[in-house]
């Protein structure tokens, strides 16, 4: 493999993303509306509980977590399932399959540029604003470094989940239902919509070993230094778990895709 190829694809992805300035602005705006909703919802939840601390989290903790989770979600979000099903229907997938690179690797690096743009345009500004507003609630130190590392792993886990579902759609030839199921599962079990701390004990036990947590909950926990992530003894198992899922899902995804691609019949042409 040649790094020049990856760099070229990343660069093109950045250039393409920057073409869609309006899209980014709309994303930021719709986020504001979503976050207002989150704010009032949790305000009501805390008010009705009559306590300041629920499951070890104050209202402020919850808001910081959910705002950053939303920003992270926008940064990591991919549309591989849609894009791939569209390119199967139009038959365009054959052009990507005929690039002198493995299709999965080609796809991953094609998306990388968009992630870089989203990181600087949505995640970083949100993070800075949260830091300023909360005045020291987020520790700024070596945790940022581990957060970046953890986010890269999260990106690969997320890519693999997307790719597995997209591959599944190669067989079913229908996308919508499967994709909705995937989105709901990821949103719920990864901690993006509800912090995992609020889950009942048994469910939390199951969720904590599933790969979805590795996408959003672990990077955020590391960034916010919760659950012992401020110590190496707490941090390393989290990164280790992400790494495990990276390895497992990459191998599984490769096997599954190689099997699927042999079966596909590219439409028309």
């Amino acid at each position: 493999m040649n790094l020049k190829r990856f760099a070229a694809l990343t660069k093109a992805g950045i250039q393409e993303s920057l073409q869609y300035r309006l899209g980014t602005a709309v994303t930021l705006f719709s986020n504001l509306i979503y976050l207002a909703l989150v704010y009032f919802l949790w305000k009501a939840i805390y008010a009705s509980s009559g306590k300041d601390v629920v499951r070890g989290m104050t209202f402020e903790d919850t808001m910081i977590y959910l705002i950053l989770a939303t920003a992270l979600f926008n940064f990591l979000e991919q549309f591989i399932v849609w894009d791939m099903s569209r390119s199967i229907q139009s038959g365009k997938i054959i052009l990507d399959l005929l690039k002198p690179m493995k299709y999965r690797i080609y796809t991953f690096w094609s998306y990388s540029g968009a992630h870089v743009v989203q990181f600087f345009l949505t995640f970083t500004p949100t993070f800075i604003i949260v830091c300023l507003l909360t005045g020291g609630a987020i520790h700024i130190g070596v945790n940022l470094l581990f957060f970046v590392l953890s986010t890269v792993l999260a990106l690969v886990v997320n890519f693999n989940i997307e790719m597995l579902v997209a591959t599944l759609c190669l067989y079913t030839e229908s996308t919508w239902g499967i994709n909705i199921v995937k989105e709901t599962i990821v949103l719920l079990l990864s901690g993006v919509s509800i912090p995992l701390a609020f889950f009942p004990e048994t469910i939390r036990g199951i969720v904590s070993i599933l790969p979805f947590r590795a996408v959003y909950d672990i990077p955020l926990t590391i960034l916010l230094q919760k659950n012992g992530a401020d110590q190496l003894s707490g941090l390393l198992p989290m990164l280790g778990m992400q790494l495990c899922w990276v390895v497992i899902l990459t191998i599984a995804g490769n096997l599954f895709f190689n099997h699927a691609v042999r079966k596909i019949t590219v439409n028309g042409g």
Binding site: R5, L98, P100
Partner: protein, 316 residues
């Protein structure tokens, strides 16, 4: 590229077949529900026992009616599909066993789809393809120089692909396919939807690139103008079987006794056309017969066109 290295043929196919398993679909809603659990498959043979050898630098027309198995063949040669039976070698590589390696030595253009980056200027797509195919800087520069000598590159080079006309986009896609100097280029309906002037521009470009780079070109098309302008040899398949494989000239002699008789009758502006097999009917008799009923203003007798020949072959 190992393009010039050997004298082997560019493509060798030996007794290649491809079967697809398709579910037998039933009618109606209840049928659709039953289909969910059905294991009632039938086998479709898209390509059956096709053998084909294509030499280096050849331009061949690969023709056949819709659904004849043309794209299935192309997909097998490019390595996207694995043949059910038979062997394929493309420039010394077994394509379906080594798709990535095979991709480096082929280029593709599908008239209906573009491999260019939609929102970026053409030059960015070229630069990207240069990096993806690991083209040396010097070869890349030479290739762009060659392109400049063949077409007017400047007006489109800095234009985003989404703002291009269909003709400009097709032209760009053909240039993109040749950029890494592949041994073989597949052109699937490259002139579809283009105006006459653009068609001839595209044909000249393909001839120019083929002459300069000795690239083997496999052309599938329904436009006989493309075939006349580009191909010395045509291969025709129908229902998965190869039914013709020979020179264009031979194609004409094969149907040499056919003539197209064109007549303009009195009171009509349009020409009336009739294809006549001279072994069966005499052209003069046909004219006499017509003359008894109508007054003929004008007569032309032409050699049968490629279009008519192909139609005859398709119809069996």
């Amino acid at each position: 590229m190992s393009k010039q290295a050997s004298n082997e043929p560019a493509i060798v196919m030996e007794h290649v077949s491809k079967n697809f398993k398709v579910l037998n679909r039933r009618e109606g809603l209840s049928g659709s529900i039953k289909d969910l659990f059905s294991r009632d498959y039938k086998t479709l043979q898209a390509v059956s026992d096709v053998s084909l050898t294509v030499g280096r630098g050849e331009i061949i027309g690969y023709l056949g009616p819709n659904g004849a198995g043309k794209s299935t063949t192309i997909k097998m040669i490019t390595g996207v599909l694995e043949p059910s039976e038979g062997k394929i070698m493309v420039n010394g590589v077994v394509p379906y066993q080594n798709r990535t390696r095979n991709s480096e030595q082929i280029g593709v253009v599908f008239g209906q789809r573009s491999q260019l980056w939609w929102s970026l200027p053409l030059i960015e797509s070229f630069n990207l393809l240069r990096d993806i195919y690991l083209v040396e800087e010097k070869e890349y520069k030479d290739m762009l120089e060659l392109y400049r000598s063949l077409v007017d590159l400047e007006p489109i080079l800095h234009k985003p692909v989404r703002q291009m006309s269909l003709g400009q986009r097709t032209l760009s896609d053909i240039l993109a396919a040749f950029l890494h100097n592949p041994a073989i280029v597949f052109l699937d309906e490259p002139t579809i939807g283009l105006d006459v002037a653009m068609k001839s521009k595209i044909r000249d470009l393909i001839l120019g690139l083929n002459a300069q780079k000795k690239t083997t070109v496999i052309l599938t098309t329904h436009d006989m103008g493309d075939v006349d302008a580009l191909c010395k040899r045509v291969v025709i398949i129908d229902k998965g079987k190869k039914i013709y494989d020979n020179d264009m000239d031979h194609l004409k002699t094969f149907f040499g006794s056919y003539r197209t008789l064109r007549m303009r009758l009195d009171g009509e502006d349009e020409w009336t056309e009739r294809v006549i097999d001279e072994n069966k009917t005499d052209v003069m008799k046909e004219i006499e017969k017509t003359q008894k009923e109508h007054k003929i203003k004008d007569i032309q007798v032409q050699e049968i066109s490629t279009e008519e020949i192909i139609k005859k072959i398709y119809e069996g």
